[in-house]
């Protein structure tokens, strides 16, 4: 039964409420959302910010992620988005960034202290729901080509709407 108003009553916030039905109209749907990863290792040339080509989608709720040409997320709902990305290189320092409209907004790095170097980044950014887009990039300084690995979804990019 839909409740449209509460009259002459009060709710004791210290009471326990056991819902057995469905509460609708509350919370957020958190879409658009997507998660994509590499289907095969991607070569990264030295000293060059290189866009991740995450071409395999786990899901893409509103088809807002381009997984074949520009590898970018262009959300069609205005709001604040939680975005995350990860790169993974062997025996190499690694930088990972998330950019908005072609400008790097958030970056992180890890030195080559481990043979297996995975680095993740996350950030919350606003989007206008039409032209704003987000991309993920990686960078290293090894002086030669290094791969960011595809195995076990080690290189990925994702995001979802936090709130409008």
């Amino acid at each position: 039964m839909a409740i449209d108003k509460i009259q002459s009553e009060s709710i004791n916030l210290a009471d326990n409420f056991a819902f057995t039905g469905t509460v609708s109209g509350a919370g957020e749907s958190n879409t658009p959302s997507f998660f994509a990863y590499l289907s095969s290792n991607q070569n990264i040339t030295s000293d060059t910010w290189t866009k991740l080509q995450c071409n395999t989608e786990e899901f893409d709720s509103d088809s807002d992620y381009d997984n074949s040409t520009n590898y970018r997320f262009t959300p069609t709902t205005a709001g604040k988005y939680y975005l995350f990305a990860q790169g993974f290189m062997n025996n190499s320092s690694i930088y990972v960034a998330i950019s908005k409209n072609g400008t790097r907004i958030a970056t992180t790095r890890k030195s080559a202290t481990d043979a297996d170097n995975g680095v993740s980044i996350s950030v919350v950014l606003s989007a206008n729901g039409s032209s704003d887009y987000f991309e993920a990039e990686v960078f290293h300084k090894e002086g030669t080509t290094i791969i960011t690995e595809a195995s076990e979804r080690r290189t990925h990019f994702g995001g979802f709407l936090l709130t409008t």
Partner: protein, 109 residues
């Protein structure tokens, strides 16, 4: 073909700049659209090189790139720094011999 960053390093060396910071001095970008890397930002005092000036550095950059592969191979073979310190503490001569054998097996150009 040598990587753009290595050709830029060689061009800078030839013009009196011994060190290039590719996070600040020169920013290279690859949009993963099949066009390869390009110079997105040039903040050094010396002039940005032309395509011809970069092509002239091809051979030197190839050598540097080959040496970078050797450096990477050596680094992997050297192993973890902590383990090496332990190795040095226990028997420094044995460690030196092992490092030398790795260098000898992976010579630079």
């Amino acid at each position: 073909m040598a990587q753009l960053s290595n050709k830029i390093k060689e061009y800078c060396k030839a013009n009196g700049v011994s060190n290039v910071d590719f996070l600040n001095d020169v920013k290279l970008q690859d949009d993963s659209n099949g066009q390869g890397a390009y110079i997105a930002e040039w903040n050094l005092d010396i002039a940005q090189p032309t395509d011809a000036q970069l092509s002239a550095q091809e051979s030197a950059a190839d050598t540097e790139e080959a040496n970078n592969v050797v450096r990477s191979t050596r680094r992997t073979a050297y192993g973890d720094i902590g383990e090496q310190l332990d190795e040095i503490y226990k028997d420094i001569d044995s460690w030196k011999a092992r490092i030398k054998s790795i260098k000898d097996a992976n010579p630079k150009s």
